[in-house]
């Protein structure tokens, strides 16, 4: 299995732990991720001109060179998916292609890494790599942009793919009614008060399930729920202490990879107790 790989900007900064776990896990699974040369930012949710934002993703998809384009980030994924849909409009496609050196032809399919694991590789195959059944309870948290607005990979209302992945690792996915509610990440910089309110709701509800960790698929969600967890605790005078684990880190633990290689020491919420409980 081979994909063009579009890491997205966060992998070079706040999501260095995600990057480490992706590299460690995918190498062992034998899935090749060939990084796109000279890749550009997708514009996240902040390049407001939509033609420009579509063109940024069109350039990425055009660089896929016949391979599907895999990405670890929900924001990148959603922009790539939306661009693909927007570019069905031929006049927009022609205009965008006028600005691109390599032309977009619509052949490359964007795929989130979770989709690569759950759909393309399949969970039975993953089970072959599992060395430790993780005897923990985990909150499957999908966030917004993995399944919205394009609901091609999983249900936008009640997705199951991450639940199933957690099960395949021997852990128990808890019932969590907030699994696709917004974490507030996109407004963190400009409206922190409101962003922390949203994160608080997610964290309090996660805590109430009795889970040992929350599993995420997006660097923005991780920043919001892990790095900002202390700020949430301070603002609302509550104790949360909930480890936020990338799904690739959870896979890595079950595959017997050392926590350090998975970047688990780089979280702001300590992960030691969680790692011990997970049997590592």
């Amino acid at each position: 299995m081979k994909y063009s790989y579009y890491p997205g900007c966060a992998q070079h900064g706040t999501a260095v732990d995600y990057r480490m776990s992706v590299e460690a896990v995918f190498r062992r699974l034998g899935i090749e991720l060939e990084e796109i040369k000279n890749w550009n930012c997708c514009g996240a949710l902040h390049v407001d001109d939509m033609t420009t934002r579509v063109a940024l993703s069109a350039r990425t998809l055009a660089a896929g060179k016949g391979l599907d384009v895999a990405t670890p980030c929900n924001l990148c994924y959603s922009n790539l998916m939306r661009a693909n849909t927007a570019l069905e409009d031929t006049s927009l496609k022609n205009r965008v292609n006028g600005a691109l050196a390599s032309k977009y032809d619509g052949d490359a399919k964007p795929k989130h890494l979770l989709e690569v694991i759950v759909k393309d590789m399949g969970l039975p195959k993953l089970s072959e790599h599992v060395k430790h059944q993780l005897k923990i309870k985990a909150v499957p948290y999908y966030g917004c942009l993995l399944t919205r607005p394009e609901n091609k990979f999983d249900s936008p209302e009640n997705p199951k793919s991450l639940d199933n992945l957690i099960l395949a690792l021997g852990a128990e996915p808890v019932k969590y009614y907030y699994k696709t509610k917004c974490c507030g990440g996109p407004i963190l910089i400009t409206n922190e008060g409101l962003a922390l309110e949203l994160a608080k709701d997610l964290l309090v509800m996660a805590k109430e399930t009795g889970a040992d960790c929350m599993v995420v698929t997006c660097p923005m969600c991780h920043l919001q729920l892990d790095a900002k967890q202390k700020a949430v605790e301070a603002k609302f005078n509550i104790k949360i202490d909930m480890p936020i684990i990338y799904f690739t880190q959870l896979m890595g633990l079950a595959m017997g990879i050392a926590p350090k290689e998975l970047g688990l020491d780089k979280h702001l919420v300590p992960t030691d107790k969680f790692i011990a409980k997970a049997g590592r």
């Binding site: 900007c9 966060a10 070079h12 900064g13 706040t14 999501a15 732990d17 040369k37 000279n38 890749w39 550009n40 930012c41 514009g43 996240a44 949710l45 902040h46 390049v47 407001d48 001109d49 939509m50 033609t51 420009t52 063109a55 940024l56 350039r59 927007a86 205009r95 965008v96 006028g98 600005a99 691109l100 050196a101 917004c144 942009l145 919205r148 607005p149 609901n151 936008p156 209302e157 696709t180 509610k181 917004c182 507030g184 990440g185 996109p186 407004i187 910089i189 400009t190 409206n191 922190e192 008060g193 409101l194 949203l198 790095a227 900002k228 202390k230 700020a231 780089k266 979280h267 702001l268």
Partner: protein
């Protein structure tokens, strides 16, 4: 909220028609005010108009009220409303459509500032380095200094590199960003600005639009 009567003079049909022509506004005439968008919105309690109200206001052509509402900027782009709308209206895309139009109408707030900084960084470097973004944004938002301990915590974990992440070759970006100059949002700018200058609309002070965030 105090409700005001809608007078014919506050209605701008050109604005309504312009929005309806965009991909985000296409289905607006079919809205039946069911309110599932408002009910699905995680931040509706902070908005001065819910998405449902905003859609109705566009149908009525209430340009000034629409463009100066905080709704456009409070939206977290979660798309919950969009996947539920029985009429296929994508309120999230509508907010995205309205942002550049509001900015071209002189709306300035934290979100507009941050988006401008973000777009500038991408246009120049092709990638977003968190440290560069925050430093540039902090120049116009001195309150960001309160985030210094947070930045330090990230830095100590190796999560906030001070070096600037950059594409090896940024030449294509100019052409990509030029596309925006020709897009519908700019057409909107031309038509609405021309109209407003005729009407000599009252100037909105930047401060008026900054009150949307609870002070930290």
């Amino acid at each position: 909220m105090q409700k005001e009567n809608i007078v014919p003079e506050s209605r701008d049909n050109a604005f309504r028609d312009l929005i309806i022509k965009t991909p985000g506004g296409r289905n607006i005439p079919t809205c039946m005010q069911c309110g599932i968008c408002a009910g699905s919105c995680p931040v509706n309690h902070e908005m001065d108009y819910t998405p449902r109200e905003l859609v109705r206001m566009i149908q009525l052509g209430l340009k000034k009220e629409v463009l100066s509402s905080n709704t456009i900027w409070i939206c977290t782009t979660c798309f919950s409303c969009s996947v539920r709308c029985p009429r296929g209206i994508y309120p999230t895309e509508l907010m995205e459509t309205l942002k550049p139009i509001a900015m071209s109408e002189g709306i300035r707030n934290r979100n507009a500032k941050f988006d401008n900084v973000f777009a500038d960084v991408i246009k120049k470097n092709g990638r977003a380095s968190e440290f560069l973004l925050i430093s540039k944004y902090s120049i116009s938002e001195p309150g960001m200094i309160k985030q210094a301990p947070f930045g330090l915590a990230l830095f100590s974990k190796g999560k906030l590199p001070l070096s600037i992440d950059k594409m090896e070759d940024v030449r294509e970006l100019d052409a990509i960003f030029k596309l925006g100059e020709k897009s519908v949002d700019k057409e909107a700018k031309e038509s609405t600005v021309a109209k407003e200058s005729k009407e000599t609309a009252p100037e909105r002070s930047p401060k008026e639009n900054e009150g949307q965030e609870a002070e930290k």
